[in-house]
């Protein structure tokens, strides 16, 4: 056997390890894939072996192959095997592999829950650490739900190494399981003031990440962060906090005012560029939030801009880049202060660094004016020509279009110039943005009426030179402009001078090589063109010419009829038939032009991009409802029709009750009509009646900029935008001269009046008159358009789920699910601290409660009120904090802590209450059954209602419930149970009070956890607490590795006055049959105004036998079998003078001695419990008059007698 094992490890020596694999791959450069597939086969063999070392080695190699792009998900199960290895070395390999390849879709991931839980509670901090690291990469909603509570516990671990990891991973848990946020938040907040800087930084990190998505919920933390900001010296933490403030200020302008000063100080004092930069950034954010009505901050703006200029001028490209980035933020609100640095920014356009050029481009966007637009665009056009690499050129192209089209072409004075720029841009090769240019051409041609003639002539030229554009490649995005060209020429054909020529150009055989959707537009617009030519010819009486053109159409159209594209084919064949019919009529010499042109009568108006979406869904219309029976699943989904210009916007339909009546139908018809009216591709008989558009005036009512054209501009031949720049300059010059002349005349007449005016005029912007009669048609919007833009939000945003109000007191249903087999005691451990806080605020939900219950409820309400008050106070505090001068740092402290402290103190009672409540409930249920089912039905309904809520509770209190279920068998007992606490006093002096509780650790048969609550009774600050215990042979305190038995364990927190907090210490023991006592000392430093003193407090830690027991439910049949088995020792006791009720008695035993009731008959009950080392303990409790007798059975007689002694002591106190 041993030999076999040994042989396994020797075999292992000859397997390939990771290094061999890497070397092998390097040596097989030619046939790498083949070699790797060989290796994978070997790995598969290795994974089949029993030896965990071999498996780990194989998994390690797989991780490497994963990096090379090989899917290793098939080995997921083996990875889990390696994860569960006992050795850290292998475990780490397993977790690494898992973190690289596990994800939510990995099905075996659910098998890991228990393994991870075990690792999380491992005594070895690196096991825990490795599990946390791994989990952070592959946590799923299920894992998050199941492990949230365990991770919460780890947040108060004694070792900072674990604490910081646990704190960080909480963010991932929140993301996957948003319900955990509220219960966990108080503790997270607490960690902001953790003594360890790493933990603090982690907490800041998590809260910043949370606050970035939903800042308003974290506004109340502002004072705390402010304090951290002024006290912390860690730049990482500072940066995070400052970034966080940047997100918070838009919500609370007062906060911004408060921040300006310390931030300015930081800007002046810090030497770290990163910090300086973030400060500037946040100051900018503050200024943006204050932008209205705060003129006296110009100094801050100047400071920022100055600092940024220094950054931009720096030789370090990184700083330059960031300077530009921040500058663009200022630009939005304070464009004036940035515009003065135009020189610098234009200089950056010539930088060799693309990232910097792109940033500079962004800035340009905000710097253009009517005056400098042409100049800037000219500069950009030069860059376009020079640019290497299509991405940058595409970026330039989009920027040019953005700059020119911004705010409704506000800065364009000459649209002929703009059209020629667009036409020039079409000469770019290999750009992806053909459709952008096309959209602009269409937009301008449609909306600027005056430019149509010019646009049409340019487009005709484009169509004529289509071969240049389309020839390069079919896939060339630029051919999209032909779409626009064809449409413009067709739609506005009345402006076309050489219509015949254009028509011929459109009928060229080459056209058939264009993409289908462009051909379709060609075909459609050919007819428009044809119609207008026909009209022209008929009017001038050239019948032959008209027939000729018809003949041409008939000859050329068939090439489109043969098109593979359905749309083209359909349109072409339809039109071909139409024209054949026209030809017939023409031969009969019937005038047809009027009728043909009628086909295309009416104007097409632009529709606002969101118009469709803004049409309110009429009441009663359910867009999701099937009109017909839904089709069977087998039907394949239709391919989505390819949209040409815009992606179809997702429609978020709302569910409404479908109620249809006459009125509704009429309304729908109206809506449909309107939709048609708004559809540019829907040909309607007449322009839609204007009165429908209440919000936006129609074409005729558009405010038109009336400018008299001084010089008609026309550049012959192919336009060059540069010529326009010159012409424009001349024009402006002329305009100026003319105006000056006028002014002079006026001046002569009325001197004094216009004197001041004149000096302003020369440079002012408004002076530059557009060269065209520009009437920009606003886009149409439907009637009752919804004004909000809310629909822009993505409903699938994962961070939305975390938008949770954190100040609200916790509700009952929110507690974290606790591991199933944990018991009542667990609830009192600090890990459930948060769930306990929530109980305070529990809403009264069970109306069927009896009076006494109600009374207690009242008490609870009181507590709730307290919480609310506290909350209010908090809100007030924030206001107070914001409204006054910087408060002393200490004022923020009590804000966060009292609550926590209160929670800890109130905790044990709360638990009991909870427990009792449930018990009463159950009993009531039982009682109802026996008492003639009177209200049963009624109550059941209610029960049902609260079931959902209760479910989670039941799950978490499984064992508890078990207890109560058993108890219910007995007689009904209404008497309330007195509050019980399992925390016993450990030691006390004027400074500090310690209470403790001991719990067994189910996962480890030789460990118990001691939870100690430290309460600061003094008015001083307690710090550097260290707890040390004199180990006995049997019982030892678990200390960090490397420390000697004489070292104490530091308590991971400090205590401000009046605050209590809880720490946990783990002890290992060998034998558990006897109670133990350990001597120990707590040393701490008391710090107050007078100075600090070192104090000590001795204590005796009493490990009772009951603390080794774990409440374990047991069914009566199993219990009976156990008793029958006969390997149990027996012993019994009798206690006299018992006055309390039997139920109380049982509850006491359950609570203090960790038993559960198996069965109860009248005044007799059987109980069961199990020790951490697996001893069964069975009890039979009988109550006589004023006395109780307990018979016990257990595997170990010593344990039993000790237990019974303890019990006797407890009961004798009753």
């Amino acid at each position: 056997m041993a030999l076999k094992m040994v042989k396994g490890s020797i075999d292992r020596m000859f397997d390939k390890n990771l290094q061999d694999l890497v070397r092998g791959i390097r040596n097989h450069k030619e046939d790498e894939a083949k070699y790797i597939s060989q290796c994978i086969d070997e790995i598969k063999q290795e994974l089949k072996q029993d030896n965990i070392a071999v498996k780990a080695n194989a998994v390690c190699k797989l991780t490497y192959l994963q990096m090379l792009g090989y899917d290793i998900s098939w080995a997921a199960f083996n990875i889990i095997e390696v994860m569960s290895a006992s050795k850290f070395t292998f475990k780490r390999i397993g977790y690494l592999a898992a973190s690289q390849c596990f994800h939510e879709g990995t099905d075996v991931i659910m098998l890991t829950t228990n393994q991870i839980r075990k690792d999380l509670s491992s005594p070895n901090q690196y096991d825990t650490g490795v599990a946390l690291t791994g989990l952070s990469c592959f946590v799923t909603p299920d894992l998050a739900r199941d492990l949230a509570n365990d991770i919460m516990t780890l947040m108060s671990h004694t070792k900072p190494y674990i604490r910081k990891k646990a704190v960080l991973i909480m963010y991932k848990v929140f993301l996957k399981y948003p319900e955990s946020l509220r219960p966990a938040f108080p503790r997270l907040k607490e960690k902001l003031e953790d003594p360890d800087p790493g933990v603090q930084s982690a907490a800041v990190n998590v809260i910043c990440e949370l606050a970035r998505r939903n800042p308003k919920n974290y506004l109340s933390l502002a004072p705390l962060f402010f304090k951290l900001m002024t006290s912390s010296t860690n730049n990482w933490v500072l940066i995070k906090i400052i970034k966080l403030f940047g997100a918070l200020t838009p919500l609370e302008p007062r906060l911004g005012k408060k921040l300006i000063e310390p931030l300015t100080n930081l800007i002046h004092s810090t030497s770290a560029m990163s910090l300086l930069y973030e400060c500037v950034n946040t100051v900018i954010a503050v200024l943006i939030s204050l932008s209205s009505g705060m003129p006296n901050h110009s100094a801050s703006i100047q400071l920022c801009v100055q600092k940024l200029r220094i950054l931009i001028e720096d030789s370090d490209q990184n700083l330059k880049y960031l300077g530009l980035l921040a500058m663009s933020k200022i630009l939005k609100t304070h464009p004036k202060s940035v515009q003065s640095h135009k020189d610098l920014i234009l200089q950056c356009l010539d930088d060799k660094d693309e990232s910097i050029r792109l940033r500079a481009l962004d800035l340009l966007y905000g710097m253009v004016s009517k005056k400098n637009l042409m100049e800037i665009v000219k500069k950009l056009m030069i860059h376009v020509d020079k640019a290497e690499g299509t991405t940058y050129r595409d970026e330039l192209l989009t920027k040019i279009i953005d700059i020119c089209s911004q705010s409704n072409y506000q800065y364009i004075t000459n649209f002929e110039w703009y059209i020629s720029i667009l036409v020039e841009l079409t000469r770019l090769e290999g750009t992806r943005h053909g459709h952008l240019i096309a959209a602009q051409m269409l937009d301008v041609a449609i909306r600027v009426k005056a430019i149509r003639k010019f646009a049409v002539s340019q487009m005709a030229m484009l169509l004529d030179n289509a071969h240049l554009i389309a020839s390069n490649t079919q896939r060339n995005g630029i051919c999209e402009v032909l779409y626009a060209a064809a449409w413009i020429c067709g739609e506005f054909s009345e402006h076309l001078e050489e219509a015949n020529q254009t028509l011929e150009a459109m009928l060229r055989p080459k056209v058939t090589t264009l993409p289908g959707h462009i051909q379709a537009v060609y075909v459609q617009n050919m007819v428009k063109l044809y119609a207008s030519i026909l009209q022209q010819k008929e009017q001038s009486g050239e019948k032959e010419a008209a027939q000729e053109i018809t003949q041409l159409m008939i000859e050329r159209l068939p090439q489109f009829v043969q098109s593979a594209d359905l749309e083209v084919q359909e349109r072409a064949s339809c039109i071909l038939q139409l024209i054949k019919y026209i030809q017939k009529l023409q031969i009969k010499e019937v005038p047809v032009a009027e009728e043909v042109i009628a086909l295309f009568a009416g104007e097409l108006n632009p529709v606002a991009p969101k118009a469709q979406k803004k049409v309110p869904v009429p009441e009663g219309l359910d867009l999701d409802a099937w009109i017909n029976e839904p089709p069977s699943d087998s039907e394949s989904e239709d391919e989505k029709p390819k949209t040409i210009f815009h992606d179809e916007e997702q429609r978020h339909s709302r569910h409404r009750q479908p109620e249809i009546d006459e009125e509704e139908l009429a309304r729908r018809r109206e809506a449909r009509k309107q939709e048609q009216a708004n559809n540019p591709f829907y040909i309607k008989s007449s322009p839609s009646p204007q009165k429908r558009y209440q919000d936006t005036p129609g074409v005729e009512h558009i405010p038109v900029v009336q400018i008299d054209l001084s010089v008609p501009l026309k550049v012959p031949g192919m336009p060059m935008s540069d010529q326009y720049v010159k012409l424009e300059e001349e024009r402006r010059h002329k305009q100026k001269l003319e105006k000056d002349k006028k002014k002079k005349k006026q001046k002569k007449e009325k001197r004094g009046k216009h004197h001041r005016h004149n000096s302003l005029h020369t440079e002012s912007e408004e002076d530059i008159a557009p060269a065209h009669h520009v009437d920009i048609i606003t886009e149409e919007m439907p009637e009752n358009a919804l004004p909000s833009d809310e629909d822009d939000k993505d409903p699938n945003d994962p961070y939305k789920a975390l938008d949770i109000d954190l100040d609200k007191p916790l509700a009952d249903s929110e507690k974290l699910p606790v591991q199933r087999h944990r018991n009542v005691e667990n609830l009192k451990s600090p890990d459930s601290e948060a769930p306990l806080v929530e109980k305070k605020s529990k809403k009264p939900k069970k109306k069927e409660k009896k009076h006494k219950e109600k009374e207690r409820e009242k008490g609870k309400k009181k507590e709730k009120k307290v919480v609310e008050e506290e909350d209010e106070k908090k809100g007030e505090d924030l206001d107070f904090w914001l409204s006054t001068a910087p408060p002393p740092a200490s004022t923020t402290q009590p804000q966060s802590e009292p609550e926590v402290g209160a929670a800890v103190v109130a905790e044990p009672q709360e638990v009991k209450k909870e427990e009792r409540e449930e018990r009463d409930e159950e009993e009531e249920d039982e009682g109802k059954k026996s008492s003639k089912h009177k209200k049963k039905k009624h109550k059941k309904e209610k029960e049902e209602k609260s079931k959902d809520k209760k479910k989670s509770k039941k799950k978490s209190h499984h064992s508890e419930e078990e207890t109560t279920e058993s108890v219910q068998n007995g007689t009904l007992d209404d008497e309330p149970l007195p509050p019980m606490s399992s925390y016993r006093l450990l030691a006390e002096n004027p400074y500090i009070k310690m209470t403790y509780d001991i719990q067994g650790n189910l996962q480890n048969d030789s460990q118990v956890t001691v939870s100690v609550i430290f309460e600061n009774k003094s008015t001083s600050f307690l710090k550097s607490m260290e707890l040390n215990v004199l180990d006995s042979l049997n019982t030892k305190m678990l200390r960090p590795e490397g420390s000697s038995v004489h070292d104490g364990i530091p308590v991971p927190f400090q205590l401000p006055p009046g605050i209590s907090n809880e720490a946990q210490f783990v002890f290992t023991l060998q034998s558990i049959v006897m109670a133990q006592k350990l001597k120990g000392t707590l040393s701490f430093i008391v710090k107050n105004d007078e100075g600090s003193t070192h104090e000590k407090l001795d204590f005796k830690l009493h490990f009772s036998c009951a603390s080794y027991l774990i409440t374990t439910p047991c069914y009566s049949d199993a219990f009976a079998k156990l008793l029958e088995s006969g390997d149990l020792h027996m012993s019994s006791i009798k206690v006299d003078g018992i006055s309390i009720s039997f139920q109380h008695l049982l509850a006491k035993i359950c609570f203090h001695h960790h038993f559960s009731v198996v069965e109860r008959v009248d005044s007799c009950a059987s109980m069961y419990s199990r020790s951490i080392q697996g001893h069964h303990v069975c009890l039979l409790v009988k109550k006589g008059e004023n006395s109780v007798s307990i018979d016990g059975k257990c595997n170990d007689s010593t344990l039993l007698s000790n237990l019974l002694d303890e019990m006797k002591e407890t009961l004798s106190k009753c």
Binding site: L68, L168, S201, I239, S355
Partner: protein
């Protein structure tokens, strides 16, 4: 949040890839390739930031990279991270590697990618910065290595026992092989039979972030 951390050499060969978001293996490779193309064509003296754009979700993300000798260290981060901070983090990472491997070079990363992962895990967890103090990181790494070594030692003693067992059982030759295997395993560094000249990463002394 850090979305991904990539290390590849001047030829685009991945030396480490850590994604904090789920991508299929194919996508991962594509991202590495595209990132390499973006980064590699940039000059030495341009800024270290790149708008990732299309690569890893959304325009919110940036690529922040440093180039050391033969290796590119690329971090893909979103707007919640400080750009200069991440640059410093990369520096800390490389310096830590340098300490843990003693004059780190590309070969160390090639043959010990698992160790690099372990070091990284002490700095960044689930996409969030865990620790930036190099001494703290090195301490934790050393402690873990020690733990690992102690576990190995147990195996060794086992094997030596066994080799004597083998001798007793008359399996000639086996002990020698076992011992050589053990030796091989015991060697902390791999034989550098592939000579690629001097490719050790020089860690420049940059203004520290502290």
């Amino acid at each position: 949040m850090i979305k991904a951390i990539l290390i590849f050499n001047n030829h685009g060969k991945p030396r480490l890839s850590k994604f904090y978001q789920r991508y299929s293996e194919d996508t991962q490779q594509q991202i590495i390739r595209e990132t390499f193309h973006l980064v590699s064509k940039r000059d030495e003296n341009v800024c270290n930031f790149l708008e990732g754009g299309l690569l890893i979700g959304g325009s919110d993300n940036k690529l922040i990279y440093r180039h050391y000798a033969t290796l590119y260290f690329v971090f893909c981060v979103d707007s919640s991270e400080s750009e200069l901070g991440i640059l410093d983090l990369i520096q800390v990472f490389v310096e830590t590697l340098d300490k843990c491997f003693e004059n780190v070079c590309e070969l160390d990363l090639i043959f010990h990618v698992d160790k690099v992962h372990n070091i990284l895990a002490e700095m960044v967890m689930g996409g969030m910065v865990l620790e930036t103090n190099m001494n703290e990181i090195v301490t934790q790494i050393d402690a873990q290595n020690k733990l690992e070594k102690s576990e190995y030692m147990n195996v060794f003693t086992g094997i030596f026992c066994i080799s004597s067992l083998y001798t007793q059982a008359g399996l000639a030759g086996a002990p020698a092989r076992a011992v050589s295997a053990v030796k091989n395993m015991n060697l902390p560094e791999i034989p550098r039979n592939i000579n690629i000249g001097d490719i050790s990463i020089k860690v420049p002394n940059l203004p520290s972030f502290k």
